[in-house]
Amino acid sequence: MKLKQLVIISGKGGTGKTILSASFAHLAENKIMVDCDVDASNLHVLLHPIIKERYPFSGGKKARLIPEDCIDCGECLDVCRFDAIHENDDGSILIDPLSCEGCAVCSHICPTQAIAMDPADSGEWYVSETKYGPFIHGQLGPGEEASGKLITEIRNKSQEIAKKYNLNLIIIDGPPGIGCPVISSLSGVDLALVVTEPTQSGIHDMKRVIETAHHFNTDVACIINKYDLNNKKTLELENWCRKNSISFLGKIPFDLNVSNSMVKGIPLTEYDSSPASTEIKQIWQSVQTRLKQEGENE
């Protein structure tokens, strides 16, 4: 069977991507799990990885001032477009690494070569083992902007491992939003499962992320979490999906067992057979069928 990739995204944060991903980790066989929400990763809280390999990640460079060579001329101040260079009260120069995007223009323009460019320590990523199979996850350093590059590195590794061990599925827990990290998580997957909630914000954000997926020719299916918080909005959303020919694969009820399972650190479908858990099992069946169809269409 051809290797398939599934990504779980949402647009809006906090709609239940990781709860769903962890349950899929419990339900799916012969797969590798990947946490691409490198900004605020959480899947490890439920999968309890044992880290086997660690990789440093450098997303780019950072400017560093060499004070003894600096003549306080201020030329760097004028060229930095990222507001990363400031002048102290005494006229001396200060570089703020959190704002620096590593463009190196300051370093090129400096008449006394008083600015060095160092490789940025932008985070770390791991290949781990879990009782659900292999798992790749990472943590981006604060203020880093190379999340897309880290996600690409992690995803490349997941494909390498999948091939090596003859796995047939890569399940990606995606980041919120529609920008750089989402686009990097989406590219080349067979199916993007969008999980949203029946709120005005949830629906709006879902439409934006579906538009983003379509922009990159990615196939989309949709589910609603906590659907009974607003039955009217749920119906509205189901109708919208039907009208726009987007597969609607299920709706999960609001269920306090979800946060209970999180506290216990166990994927919901493994924790109990609550209504939410039962629905996720159904959704997983539909996702599998859908992934099989993707193969036939090619």
């Binding site: 605020a40 477009r81 223009v105 529609i178």
Partner: protein
């Protein structure tokens, strides 16, 4: 004064808090509201401002003047983002990789590069009650949100209160949104995910040296670990909002809690008084 509202984890209630604070305070004075969650701006659903101005945000990308270019390759060498490639008689520009740093234009020995603006999103401005409302919206398919955030933040008025609704996370867009704030409200939920992401946010705010406090939303679910963590680290828990289906339903319909539940109006006024003392 600038108060930003942030969280590591998404969906914890940033926008709920930001719009409730703004709604409560605007009854007393004029303020600015800036939605910097430009990938998914949602505050407008709640504040319902009348948008009066819409302005495109352009990111500068290089344009080569062929008649001046000698194909020396310097621009490609200095570009840290691989946004330029120089062939024998052609320069290729990849706009989606360009960060708009201006390095190639500045350093080209032949002055053969000029900058032209490429649209990456828009800034909308409007008004509702005593709130001057601003939001950035990233165009679908674009990846560079920081330039839009910087553009939104140009609307900050130091003479009045500015409330910033930040994007989730701790990466570049979040930092861009919250830096320069006088105070940051971190919104979290009392679950292991909430705690994990709160720890990362706290680390960032300590580095940025911005005073902050925590609002625990959906209090009652999960466990006590977030409260315990804040106690140990001496972090102020400045408000708790209980897990209440009525609040969740109100949110789902685009209602502001300080408008719908009057007791919250006083709570947010009190919260602001508390924050002022810390600045």
């Amino acid at each position: 004064m600038i108060i930003s509202i942030a969280s590591g984890k998404g969906g914890t209630g940033k926008t709920t808090v930001a719009v409730s604070l703004a709604y409560a305070l605007q009854q007393k004075f004029n303020l600015n509201f800036l939605d910097c969650d430009v990938e998914e701006p949602n505050a407008h659903f709640f504040l319902k401002p009348k948008i009066t101005e819409s302005k495109p945000v352009l990111s500068p990308i290089p344009e080569i003047i062929d008649s001046k270019c000698t194909y020396c390759g310097d621009c490609a060498k200095i570009c840290e983002y691989n946004a330029l490639a120089v062939l024998k008689d052609k320069v290729l520009v990849f706009p989606e990789l360009c960060h708009g740093c201006g390095g190639c234009t500045l350093l080209c020995p032949e002055k053969a590069i000029i900058e032209k603006g490429q649209r990456i999103g828009i800034i909308e401005s409007g008004k509702t009650g005593n709130i001057n409302f601003f939001q950035g919206i990233l165009d679908v398919g674009q990846i560079m949100s920081p330039p839009i955030i910087r553009e939104v933040k140009k609307r900050i008025d130091p003479e009045i209160l500015n409330i910033i609704d930040a994007p989730p996370g701790t990466a570049c867009p979040t930092i861009e949104s919250i830096k320069g704030s006088d105070y940051c409200i971190l919104v979290t939920e009392p679950t292991p995910f909430g705690l994990n992401d709160l720890k990362i946010s706290v680390n960032v705010l300590n580095q940025l040296k911005i005073p902050y406090g925590v609002i625990v939303n959906r209090d009652g679910i999960g466990n006590q670990d977030v409260i315990e963590f804040c106690r140990k680290e001496n972090i102020d828990v400045i408000m708790k909002i209980p897990m209440d289906k009525k609040i969740a339903e109100a949110y789902s319909n685009g209602k502001i809690i300080s408008e719908k539940f009057p007791e919250y109006k006083d709570k947010f006024h009190h919260l602001f008084d508390q924050i002022k003392k810390q600045i």
